[in-house]
C-alpha cells in the first residue's frame, strides 16, 4: 500500500468512500513518508498519535456514513496556525514552546470536515521570507533539484514547508498563508497548486499575524481540484474576524471542468520585465495559447502602477508587522531573557528571540510609522495601494474575467544563493504576487512547465474579488494542458 501517498485528494476521497483503504492506512502511509523525508525539514513537529486518533475517528464516521467532505484526509498545517494543545511557534524562537489553548478557525473547519492532522509545517519566521530560510528550525529542502545537480534548492517561502511536503507526497494537502506571495511562489517552485483567496474569504482568527491587511490563508495541494476541495472547508465568514466576508462559500469543486469559453483573459504588459528569462516568457505565451484554445479571449491590459507595488508593499507590510509583533515582549508567554529592568527585558528578549529578517522588518516598520516619516512613507504607500487596486478595477470593468501572469520571475534557487548581501534581491521574488495582496484579490499558481534545468515553473491567474471559481476553472485548463509534475525522490 506504499503508493497511497501518490493519490490526489480526490482519488483518496473515492478510495475511502469505496472502502478500498482506511484513513488509518492512508495516514500511516503519510506518517512513514514523513519519517523518511526528515532531510527535507518540511515538518517542524510531527503529531503521529494525534493523526492516528483522528484517522480512527474518521474511519468510524466513514463506516457510519457520517463522513464530512474531507473525512480521513491527512493534512499538514503551517506552523502559523494555532492548533489547540499542539506547539505553535510561527517558526520563531520568541514563541519558544508556546502551546495554544485555542484552535484557529481555518483548521477547526478542516477538523470539522473530517481531515486528519499529521503535524506542523516549517515556514519563514513569522512568514517573513521568500525561501523558507528565516525559520528558527532551519531551511526546508525543495524536493526538486536541477537535472544532474545535488544542490539542495529552496522551496520558496514563506509556506516552504507546506509546498515541500505536498510536492514530496508527505501530506495530501497543506494549509498555508500568503501576505505577498507566500502561497503562490512556493507552489510555483515545487509544481504544486496554491491559491490565495480574496482577502476576507478565510478567517484570520488564530493565525499568527504578519501584516493584517494582507494576510490570507489558503491551501497548497497536488491538483486544482484538490485545492478547490480544501478551500471550500477553509473558507467562510467568522464573527471573530471582522475583516472576514459574510458571503456564502460556493462549491468550488463544481467549477472544475466548467467551460471557459468566452472568458476574457488579460495579459498585463507591465509584467513583462527587462531581463526576464526567456523560458518564463515562453511559458507565459504557452499558457495564453492553452486558454485561447479552450475558448477564452486573450487581451492585452495595462496595470500602470505595477512598478510601485513592491516598494509600497515593503512599507505597508513591515509597518503592520512592527505593531503586530509588539506583543512578543517576554512578559506573558514564550521566550523571556533575564534582565535587570523592564526595558532590558524587552531588549534582550526581542534581540535574541527574533531572527535577522524579522528584526529588519520590525525596524523598517517602526521607521516608516514614525513622526515625520509617516506621511512620506506609510501614507504614500497606502495611496499607491489604492491606485494598484484601481488598476485592477479598471481592468475588470472592461470585462476582463481574469489576468494571466508568470507566478515568479525565476525557478527555485539554491539555499543561501540569494539575498545574502542585498535583501531586495530576495524581495524581488514577489514582484508578480504582491500586487494581488495589495489589491485584496484572489490569485492561483498552477504548475505549467519546467525550465531548461528541469525545475518547475508556474503561472498565476488573478481573479475578481470572491470569484475564486473562475480561477479554478481556468487553472484546471492549464493543468490539463501542462500535465502534472512529480519530483524524483532523492531524500
Amino acid at each position: 500500500m506504499t503508493d497511497l501517498t501518490s493519490l490526489t485528494l480526490a482519488e483518496a476521497r473515492k478510495g475511502l468512500a469505496d472502502k478500498t483503504f482506511t484513513s488509518l492506512e492512508l495516514t500511516d502511509a503519510h506518517l512513514s513518508a514523513i519519517e523518511q523525508a526528515r532531510l527535507l525539514n518540511a515538518f517542524v513537529l510531527e503529531t503521529p498519535d494525534r493523526a492516528r486518533a483522528m484517522a480512527r475517528e474518521a474511519d468510524a464516521k466513514l463506516a457510519r456514513g457520517e463522513a464530512g467532505p474531507l473525512a480521513g484526509i491527512p493534512l499538514g498545517i503551517k506552523d502559523l496556525f494555532a492548533t489547540k494543545g499542539v506547539r505553535t511557534t510561527a517558526c520563531s524562537k520568541i514563541l519558544g514552546n508556546f502551546v495554544p489553548t485555542y484552535e484557529s478557525t481555518v483548521t477547526s473547519q478542516l477538523w470539522r470536515d473530517g481531515a486528519v492532522m499529521l503535524g506542523k509545517l516549517n515556514n519563514d519566521e513569522f512568514a517573513m521570507g521568500s525561501a523558507n530560510e528565516t525559520s528558527c528550525f532551519g531551511p526546508v529542502g525543495n524536493p526538486w533539484r536541477r537535472e544532474g545537480s545535488n544542490t539542495t534548492l529552496v522551496p520558496g517561502g514563506s509556506s516552504g514547508g507546506s509546498a515541500s511536503a505536498v510536492a514530496a507526497l508527505l501530506c495530501m494537502g497543506a494549509t498555508a498563508t500568503d501576505t505577498g506571495g507566500s502561497i503562490r511562489q512556493p507552489a510555483a517552485f515545487t509544481a504544486t497548486v496554491g491559491i490565495k483567496p480574496t482577502y476576507g474569504r478565510c478567517s484570520r482568527w488564530g493565525i499568527v499575524a504578519f501584516a493584517s491587511s494582507l494576510d490570507q490563508a489558503g491551501p497548497i495541494a497536488r491538483s486544482v481540484r484538490d485545492a478547490a476541495m480544501l478551500l471550500r472547508s477553509m473558507a467562510g465568514h467568522d464573527p471573530k474576524d471582522t475583516t472576514s466576508a459574510d458571503i456564502a462559500v460556493p462549491d468550488y469543486e463544481a467549477a472544475i471542468g466548467k467551460s471557459v469559453k468566452g472568458m476574457k483573459i488579460g495579459i498585463p504588459k507591465e509584467y513583462r520585465l527587462d531581463g526576464m528569462p526567456a523560458e518564463i516568457e515562453k511559458l507565459w505565451s504557452e499558457g495564453a495559447a492553452w486558454l485561447r484554445s479552450a475558448g477564452a479571449e486573450l487581451v492585452e491590459v495595462s496595470l500602470p502602477h505595477t512598478k510601485y507595488a513592491l516598494p509600497a508593499y515593503y512599507i505597508v507590510a513591515p509597518a503592520e508587522a512592527s505593531s503586530n509583533l509588539a506583543r512578543y515582549d517576554g512578559v506573558r508567554y514564550g521566550l523571556r531573557e533575564s534582565a535587570k529592568n523592564i526595558i532590558e527585558l524587552y531588549e534582550n528578549t526581542r534581540a535574541s528571540g527574533f531572527g535577522a529578517e524579522v528584526r529588519r522588518r520590525v525596524m523598517i516598520g517602526t521607521y516608516v510609522l514614525s513622526a515625520g516619516y509617516y506621511d512620506a512613507y506609510y501614507l504614500r504607500a497606502q495611496k499607491v495601494r489604492t491606485l494598484i487596486k484601481k488598476d485592477f478595477e479598471d481592468c475588470f470593468a472592461k470585462g476582463v474575467d481574469a489576468i494571466l501572469t508568470p507566478a515568479t520571475p525565476s525557478a527555485a534557487f539554491g539555499i543561501g544563493e540569494k539575498g545574502g548581501a542585498d535583501p531586495v534581491e530576495m524581495y524581488l521574488n514577489d514582484i508578480f504576487t504582491v500586487t494581488v495582496n495589495m489589491a485584496g484579490l484572489p490569485g492561483i499558481a498552477v504548475p505549467s512547465g519546467k525550465d531548461a534545468q528541469g525545475l518547475p515553473l508556474g503561472l498565476q491567474l488573478i481573479g475578481r474579488p470572491f470569484e475564486e471559481e473562475t480561477l479554478f476553472s481556468l487553472g484546471e485548463v492549464i493543468e490539463q494542458a501542462a500535465g502534472r509534475f512529480t519530483p524524483a525522490r532523492w531524500w
Binding site: T88, W205, G206, D329, T366
Partner: protein, 492 residues
Amino acid sequence: MSTATHKLLKGATGDWEVVIGMEIHAQVTSNSKLFSGASTAFGGEPNTQVSLVDAAMPGMLPVINEECVRQAVRTGLGLNATINLRSVFDRKNYFYPDLPQGYQISQYKSPIVGEGEVLLELEGGRTAIVGIERLHLEQDPAKMLHDKLPSQSLIDLNRCGVALMEIVSKPDIRDAEQAKAYVTKLRSILRYLGTCDGDMEKGSLRADVNVSVRKPGGPLGTRCEIKNLNSINFIGQAIEYEARRQIEIIEDGGKIDQETRLFDANKGETRSLRSKEEAHDYRYFPDPDLLPLEFSQSFVDELKAKLPELPDQKKARFVADFGLSAYDASVLVAERESAMFYESVLDRLANRTRDGKMAANWVINELFGRLNKEGRDITDSPVNAEQLAAIIDLIGEGTISGKIAKDLFEIVWQEGGDPRALVESRGMKQVTDLSAIEKVVDGIIAANPDKAAQVKDKPQSLGWFVGQVMKSSGGKANPQAVNELLKSKLGI
C-alpha cells in the same frame, strides 16, 4: 466666554489668566470589554476577567462591542455634540507591561464624536460654556501592582481592554472653580445617561489637565499636562498650584517647558514626569484588524429618541412647572439620584402643582440638610420618597403645621412608619376647630389683661399672644385661625 465669570491671578507684574483644557477618561458602563467578551465587573480576583484577546495571544483579533458604541453615541448626544457616522480605530504603539498588545486601540484622526458643549453653572448664578473638542473610544490598559513583591511587578489584566471614552475639552476653562464645575457637570451628565458610573475612587473617571497662563487677552502660553487626577478637589488644587508655579517662573524671567507632570496629593504640588523630548512617538496608524466603524443616522436617531431627560432640561422644567428658583432647581438636578428622589416625591403628591415647590424646599433643606449632617447619601436615606410625600401632603392639606411636620419628619427619620398613621396615633393633628382654639385664646387673654391692653397701641406684640396660644395647644392649633381670633378678640 465673558471674562467676568472667572478669576484672574495676581502676580508681581499684574494679573494673569489661566487657560485650562481637560481630557477626561470615562470608563464606559457595559457588561463586557470594548473588543472582547470578557467581563468588566470591578473587584474580581486578579486575572480572572481576561480573554485571549485581552492577553494578546498570537492570532487573536478584536471585535467591536456594539453596546460600547451605543454608549459613546449616547454620551455624544448628551454633550450636544456632532456624531460621526464613520470613525476609525487606530493603534497607539508603545511598550509597557500594562499593554499586552504593545499598542492601545484608540481613535486618532477620526473619532466617533465631534464638537459639542457643556453649560457650567457657577456661584452667584454665573454661567459659562465649555466647548467639547471630541470624544473617542479606546481601551483601558491593565493594572500594574508594584508593591506586592520586592523585586518584581505584577500585572492584573482584568481592567485591560475595558472601554474608555476620552472626552477632550477645548481650552475654554479659565480657573479652578470652572474646572471643578466642568468635571462635576460632565460626571452628572454621564450618570444621567448611564454611560459611566463616574466613580472617581474606583478610577472610572480620571482627568488629565492642561494648564497654561497668559496676560489677559494675550497669546497662549506654553502648557503643562497634569496626568491622572482622580478627585475633583485634586483637580482644583493641582490647577491652583500649577498656575502659581508657572507665573512665578515667568515673572522670574524664566520660561515654561512643555512637559507632563504628576500631582502629589500629599504635598499638594505638581512635579515633572517627562519632558516634551522624552514624549513617546506613538506611531499611530489605522488598525488593520478593524474595519472603519460605520452606522446610519437612524441608529443615532433611535438612541436620541430614547435619551433620558438631562440635568439642564430637567432644571428648566422644574423652574417652569413648579416655580422653583434657578438655584434650587440646580441643586436638585446636580446629581441624578437627587433629581430622581425629588421626582419620586412629586409623583406621590396629592397636589403637585400646589405643593411641588414646598416639596423642593423639604428635599433640599430638611432631607439634604439632615443627610449631610450624618454624612449619608440620598440612596440610603432613612426617609423615603413616599414618606416625605405623605408629610408634605399633610402640610398641604392643613392637617399639620410646618412646625409639627418637622417633628414628624424627625420621628419618621428615627423610627420609620407611615406619617399619616403617626399623626393620628400621636395626636399631632392640627386643631382647626374654632371653638377649641377660642377657648385657649380666651384663657390667654384673661390671664394677661395688661398685655391685652397694651397690644392695641403696640400691634407687633400680637406675636407674643400667638406664641402663647401655640404653646398651650402643643403647636397643633392652626396658626392662621389663631391669628384671626386674636385680632378680633383684641380689637386690632
